[in-house]
């Protein structure tokens, strides 16, 4: 309905290959960024920024990582949380060993460490597929989680067994630790997430992305195109774990401020998986949708009864959330296997074809 594509013809391949070829889409994107960078910090309350936006963005980042693995390359992983953990603990170690170094450097570096670990656990993916691989990644999940708890060196032998984030500042502004204001932390996360999303979209729209999808859709034919499965899959694991690692580091350093091994338990892995399924396999946008839904759902479930004047125990809320999430998964798999992203696509198509139905 709002689309006026007449006259938007492409005179160069660069323009034709653009990720947002339609002007109206570019405008929309600009608006979203404007809201994210200006409106929310200005108008958003502490709760919105600290308890909604920051976690949402971080989870979305991790979801993107997982989506690259499952959605684009077709490799199921149940170990994402563990890889996030690797990022978190790596960042913790590095930043405590060399406190003077810029924290952003460490956040990214820990991404690379997670990346390395990811590759190791990705190796089996050549021999095995589908559920087998899923189970194999469980090994990563449990082994790494065990390490976080048992290898004292990782948490500097804190008696509590947890890791607390020391305060770090960036250009004189506190970005981590108690003294950091939500808004600053929000900006740090936002910038990183935007940048990494941009990179991810570049990857999936280029040769590498095509190779991944080729492997996903028909690995036999992919080999015939000269695509070597192992490198392609390992690269997917690497990139995926890198995203997870950075997300993990952000999660501890910017969001929670402290964490125990339990923070990276298998449930988180599941939740991320759900974000990807509900959001939409093979869609970056979907990762954001999924993250939003899964993260905001409990908040709503918690808020809703109060709004209705009922009081519900936090336990009940948790249980309800479980039920709803589970139901949603099944619902989406049946009704729209490609998740919210596909629904979005369909809606968009309808708007483009308006007033026609197709």
């Amino acid at each position: 309905m709002f689309y006026r594509e007449v006259g938007q013809f492409k005179t160069s391949y660069a323009a034709d290959q653009a990720i947002f070829p339609i002007r109206q889409d570019r405008i929309g994107l600009a608006l979203i960024l404007l809201v994210a960078f200006v409106a929310i910090p200005l108008l958003g309350g502490e709760f919105l920024i600290a308890s909604v936006m920051i976690p949402f963005l971080i989870l979305a980042l991790a979801a993107i990582g997982l989506n690259i693995l499952i959605g684009y390359t077709g490799l199921i992983s149940l170990g994402t949380a563990a890889f996030m953990g690797v990022g978190a603990y790596a960042c913790y170690k590095l930043s405590t060993l060399f406190p003077q170094v810029n924290i952003l450097v460490w956040i990214l570096t820990s991404g690379f460490i997670a990346c390395a670990v990811g590759v190791v656990f990705g190796l089996p993916s050549l021999r095995i597929k589908g559920f087998y691989l899923a189970i194999a990644t469980l090994a990563a999940q449990f082994f790494l989680q065990w390490c976080f708890g048992r290898v004292g060196w990782l948490y500097n032998y804190n008696p509590s067994g947890a890791i607390e984030v020391p305060g770090h500042s960036l250009f004189g502004v506190a970005v981590t630790g108690p003294s950091a204001t939500p808004v600053t932390r929000y900006y740090v996360v936002l910038c990183i997430v935007v940048a990494m999303t941009w990179i991810a979209s570049n990857l999936v729209h280029g040769r590498i992305g095509r190779n991944w999808m080729a492997v996903r859709d028909m690995d036999i034919a992919a080999q015939l195109m000269g695509i070597r499965l192992l490198p392609a899959k390992l690269l997917a694991f690497a990139v995926s774990s890198f995203y997870a690692g950075v997300a993990g580091a952000l999660m501890v350093f910017i969001w929670l401020g402290a964490a125990e091994p339990e923070a990276f338990n298998i449930n988180l892995s599941f939740l991320l998986l759900f974000m990807v399924i509900i959001g939409g396999l093979g869609s970056l946008l979907g990762s954001f949708f999924g993250a939003a839904l899964i993260h905001i759902l409990p908040i709503i479930v918690r808020a809703a009864p109060n709004a209705l004047g009922l009081s519900v125990g936090s336990a009940t809320v948790e249980h309800l959330t479980y039920v709803i999430t589970g139901a949603l998964i099944i619902f989406f798999l049946i009704v729209e296997p490609h998740g919210l992203a596909r629904l979005w696509q369909i809606g968009k198509q309808k708007l483009r074809a308006w007033p026609f139905p197709y």
Partner: protein, 318 residues
């Protein structure tokens, strides 16, 4: 050098030094293994018949047990609670067939796999929502299961076997035997086997696919219930058991997704393996390796024998 000694020599020295402890550990492992095997068994049933990789099998176990205990705590006599629990497992089977399998039939397996994730969450949420999240105690006595332990003075030491464990072992074996007979000698059983091979065949036996699914899921439910009771009797009933129930997965990889004997052997291997590992090697790395040993075993296994011990070889056609 020393480390190598600690890894490759010392443990065996210990075993030889205290055979009674070894026997005790083996027994512990055996019982654990039996229960793993049971979970895996329910799983194999479903996979054979409906090709669904039922991730929720472990949760079904906890859910079944929780229902039983929950009802009991609500004042329902144990025997009735048991029957009701069975009934609920049947309803569950029906629901799953209606809500999950039927709409998703002909979808890629991976879809169904993920659907069972949804099921997992649904069951956890539901169970806790209805019966509360706090750990519960299995009314062993009320269910007429033995309590206490048998102690043997052998090998210059004391080996004590929990009666409940013995019961578990016995019941488990009984169930396996029962299922075997069921598969071999009943019409439905044969139908199920047929389905595993190809769906048309099943129809020829005169049972609709949907019925078969219900039956299989129900059977799996009962197995889950029994397993749940056993686990529950050994530790409290709560969704903390979920983590244990996931152990069934490595078992499957060892045993192969489609092989009942595989499930059993795999279960025992894992059970015993991780107990021994934990007891003799665990201390080297600060213990707790039980939580991942099974998976790493499985992983190692995958790399060399992806189809499992007894699973059929997968030939990729082009």
């Amino acid at each position: 050098m020393h480390i190598l000694y600690l890894i490759f020599v010392d443990p065996f020295v210990q075993m030889a030094g205290a055979p009674d402890l070894l026997v005790q550990t083996l027994w512990e492992g055996l019982v654990g293994g039996v229960l793993y095997a049971l979970i895996a068994l329910g799983f194999v049933l479903i996979f054979k018949a409906s090709g669904v990789f039922n991730f929720a099998q472990g949760i079904m176990m906890v859910f079944a047990a929780l229902t039983l205990v929950g009802l009991y705590e609500k004042g329902v006599p144990a025997w009735l609670a048991l029957i009701l629990a069975i009934g609920i497992m049947y309803l569950l089977a029906l629901a799953v067939e209606r809500v999950v399998l039927r709409p998703l039939v002909n979808q890629p397996d991976i879809m169904l796999f993920m659907a069972t994730f949804g099921l997992t969450y649904l069951l956890i949420g539901l169970g806790e929502f209805v019966f509360g999240g706090n750990p519960k105690e299995m009314p062993v006595a009320a269910l007429g299961l033995p309590k206490g332990s048998l102690d043997f003075k052998i090998l210059g030491g004391l080996v004590s076997l929990q009666k409940i464990d013995i019961a578990a072992a016995v019941i488990a074996s009984a169930m396996v035997a029962g299922l075997a007979l069921f598969f071999q000698h009943t019409r439905i059983g044969r139908a199920l086997r047929a389905v595993a091979d190809d769906h048309q065949a099943a129809l020829s036996v005169g049972i609709s696919l949907n019925q078969i699914w219900v039956i299989v899921w129900f059977t799996a439910g009962i197995v889950a219930l029994a397993t749940g009771i056993m686990w529950g009797a050994r530790s409290d009933v709560s969704f903390a058991l979920q983590v244990i129930s996931l152990k069934a997965l490595p078992v499957l990889i060892l045993g192969g997704f489609t092989s009942v004997p595989g499930a059993i052997v795999g279960g025992l291997i894992i059970g015993i393996g991780e107990k021994l590992g934990e007891f003799y090697w665990g201390p080297l790395v600060g213990g707790g390796i039980e939580s991942w040993l099974a998976y790493v075993l499985a992983l190692a296994f995958l790399l060399f024998k992806p189809e499992g011990l007894f699973g059929e070889k997968i030939i990729e056609r082009i």
